[in-house]
């Protein structure tokens, strides 16, 4: 009897202890995804997480770095277990399917006003009047690298880089003619086959009507732009593999000194050898034929509708993207911030001490220039499929299987079948 009583007491005590401990230790877990940042910026991200957790002891951030954000996010949604906060591309696709929060419901006006208007209000995070994504860091298409040595070998003045796209293609063709190199590192693929649309948006070519219900891409300007591209491809201004490349081929061509010019953000500096750095310059992106430029889309932060703690997720998301953290991130790599205050930070006003700072200031200067800044954002549902159609048809034009006119007719017809 005594033994049973003692045993019962021990069991009850143990159960109570476990429950008390569990309650005391119960934390809110927030899962946070980033895209390919762990290898070079692990310390920075972990530092940010530690800081947030120290200020919010009841929150635990679980960090996961992915190389296939869209595929993995889709899989996580299908399994019903998406991350609370995710660094993501193409937020509009997810906004359209109602799986991410409209931040108008989670953030105050003051918080939303933190971010650069052009990006937050009108960028890819905007969908049907709501705002579904926070811009985090920008990095693509912020400048142009060019190889002075190749310029000299081609008989071009290395101190006079192209200032317009017309000059850029002309220089590319001259380089092809006078050297055994190619002029411009460009392909029809790129990230999700965006490089062809990139060129058209850069030149301010009209793609769809105002309602986005009809394709109007078959217009004289588009013909002119494509003809310039095709001519450059035919004479060797652009590598022949541009029609079948993938991943980072354009970057690799430039690093191999196969090509002389490469429009890209300064963040690729970490791949450039010291020897190559001695030979190259980084300048503003050339202006399109009508004086326009295409601005690269930043990385976005989204909050999943399935999050059990959306307010805490939103708080963490605004912490990650606040001015202080973004400026710290910019000190590590040549990316551009996305908050208004960050642009005014002394770090971006001082005399550049290294390449990263030079690249950042150049990018910010371009953002603040009074020229049409065209954003590369999806303009319709089925946008990914429309880009693939455009790529396939332009490929056929580049390899000489069809004329420019036929290309644009095909694109228009196939796009209209999707709209």
């Amino acid at each position: 009897m005594k033994k049973i009583a003692l045993l019962s007491f021990v069991v009850i005590f143990a159960l109570i202890s476990v429950n008390v401990t569990a309650v005391a230790e119960e934390k809110v877990e927030i899962e946070f995804w980033t895209i390919l940042l762990a290898d070079a910026f692990g310390d920075y991200i972990n530092g940010m997480i530690d800081e947030y957790e120290a200020a919010n002891p009841n929150v635990e951030i679980k960090w996961y770095d992915t190389g296939e954000p869209i595929t993995e996010y889709m899989t996580s949604l299908a399994s019903g277990n998406p991350p609370d906060v995710a660094n993501m591309h193409h937020p509009r696709d997810f906004a359209a399917r109602g799986v991410i929060w409209n931040l108008d419901e989670l953030l105050t006006e003051e918080q939303q006003d933190t971010y650069i208007d052009n990006l937050y209000l009108y960028g890819e995070g905007e969908y049907e009047g709501g705002h579904y994504a926070i811009p985090w860091y920008g990095g693509s298409a912020s400048g142009m690298f060019y190889n002075r040595e190749i310029f000299e070998a081609a008989g071009l003045d290395p101190d006079q880089p192209p200032k317009t796209t017309k000059e850029m293609y002309e220089f590319a063709n001259i380089i092809a003619k006078n050297t055994d190199k190619y002029g411009l590192s460009w392909d029809t693929c790129g990230w999700h086959e965006q490089h062809v649309i990139d060129v058209l948006v850069w030149e301010d070519v009209e793609l769809l009507n105002e309602d986005k219900t009809e394709a109007v891409i078959n217009n004289p300007k588009a013909v002119d732009v494509l003809n310039t591209l095709i001519e450059s491809y035919e004479v060797g201004g652009i590598p022949p593999e541009a029609v079948s490349s993938s991943g980072r081929d354009t970057l690799n061509w430039f690093l191999e000194e196969r090509t002389a010019m490469f429009v890209q953000g300064g963040w690729i500096k970490r791949y450039i050898s010291d020897d190559l750095m001695e030979k190259i310059e980084y300048v503003k992106v050339p202006l399109g034929r009508d004086g326009s430029r295409v601005t690269g889309t930043p990385n976005w932060i989204i909050i999943s509708k399935a999050s059990e703690h959306p307010e805490i997720a939103a708080d963490f998301a605004t912490f990650v993207t606040n001015t202080e953290n973004q400026v710290e991130f910019c000190k590590l790599v040549a990316i551009t911030p996305t908050t208004k205050d960050a642009l005014e930070d002394p770090f971006f006003q001082q005399e550049p001490e290294n390449f990263n700072q030079l690249a950042q200031q150049l990018a910010i200067e371009q953002l603040q220039e009074d020229v049409p800044q065209n954003m590369l954002i999806p303009q319709a549902e089925n946008w990914a499929e429309m880009l693939t159609i455009l790529k396939e048809e332009v490929d056929r034009a580049l390899i000489g299987n069809q004329t420019t006119e036929e290309t644009l007719e095909n694109v228009e017809r196939r796009w209209n079948s999707l709209l």
Partner: protein, 296 residues
């Protein structure tokens, strides 16, 4: 009575035991193979983007595929690619196996050397071949050196499919070489010796003795390489991304794009189901030939 009971129990156990041993494998197969296939077939009749629940739309996906020029091109490219790769994978590994099935000094070194492509990661092999295929890469440099012109290995729509096939053949030959080697080493030496004594030349020994006895292995290689060729993906993804102009866009790449780039899982499932149907038909034909014991 107890003896009879024990006997029935032992008989029952003996009947049931093999199935119990097969059960774990069957469960795994069901979970990771049969269930996904059934689901894919189910989704092929739906409008489904993975994120929102599937909506039944009947045969709409299949109807659309029949008029989708990208799908038709992918189907044609898959057949073209298979017609290039399969004969090469039947002949080249057999030739390699014959080479290394000799009693020579250091033959083991050559066996390892010929097998090396197989152990290399597809991504690494693909990147290396991509470099070599560049217009100013090593292959074109050699061709130019011997007096031929440059070839657009990755930029010509007529050649690009061959470039993808070359990568596949380079990697897969090692695998089939081992299958053939096993076959060659199962041929009784006495048969070959007898033929030698009777004055049969090397070619006659090969044609009249070795190849007939190797037929089961040749059939196996044909079936496996055909199925593998129709399911090619990695080589296309790394070398050409389906280009130029869709010239190397094969069925699996088409499925991948529709599923993960366009978020049209239902449509991709329909294409995948058609591919599965084709593979089943091909497999049935080969199994029939296999059971007959000869290639007609």
């Amino acid at each position: 009575m107890k003896i009879m009971e024990d006997f029935h129990y032992w008989k029952f156990k003996r009947k049931i035991a093999p199935y119990l041993f097969l059960l774990p494998g069957l469960i795994m197969l069901s979970l990771f193979f049969f269930w996904p296939i059934l689901n894919t077939f189910r989704y092929s009749f739906c409008k489904y983007d993975v994120i929102t629940p599937p909506v039944y739309i009947g045969l709409q996906n299949y109807n659309r595929l029949l008029t989708d020029q990208s799908f038709i091109q992918a189907l044609q490219n898959t057949v073209k690619y298979s017609l290039i790769v399969v004969p090469c994978l039947i002949v080249i590994p057999l030739f390699l196996a014959l080479l290394i099935d000799q009693n020579l000094k250091y033959i083991k070194f050559f066996r390892v050397l010929y097998y090396l492509p197989r152990i290399m990661s597809l991504v690494v092999a693909g990147v290396i071949w991509k470099f070599m295929f560049q217009s100013d890469g090593v292959i074109n440099s050699l061709l130019t050196f011997v007096g031929f012109g440059k070839v657009g290995w990755l930029s010509s729509p007529k050649v690009a499919i061959f470039s993808v096939a070359i990568l596949t053949i380079w990697i897969a030959s090692a695998y089939y070489m081992i299958i053939y080697l096993a076959g060659l080493q199962s041929i009784p030496v006495s048969l070959i010796e007898s033929a030698k004594i009777d004055g049969a030349s090397k070619f006659r020994r090969l044609w009249h003795i070795i190849i007939p006895l190797m037929k089961p292995y040749i059939l196996t290689v044909t079936l496996v390489s055909t199925v593998g060729a129709m399911r090619v993906f990695g080589e296309v993804y790394i070398l050409t991304s389906g280009g130029p102009g869709g010239a190397t866009n094969v069925l699996t790449y088409f499925v991948y794009q529709r599923a993960f780039s366009f978020m049209k899982m239902g449509y991709a499932s329909a294409a995948a189901s058609i591919l599965l149907g084709i593979l089943i038909i091909v497999s049935i034909i080969y199994m029939y030939l296999f059971s007959k014991g000869e290639i007609k």
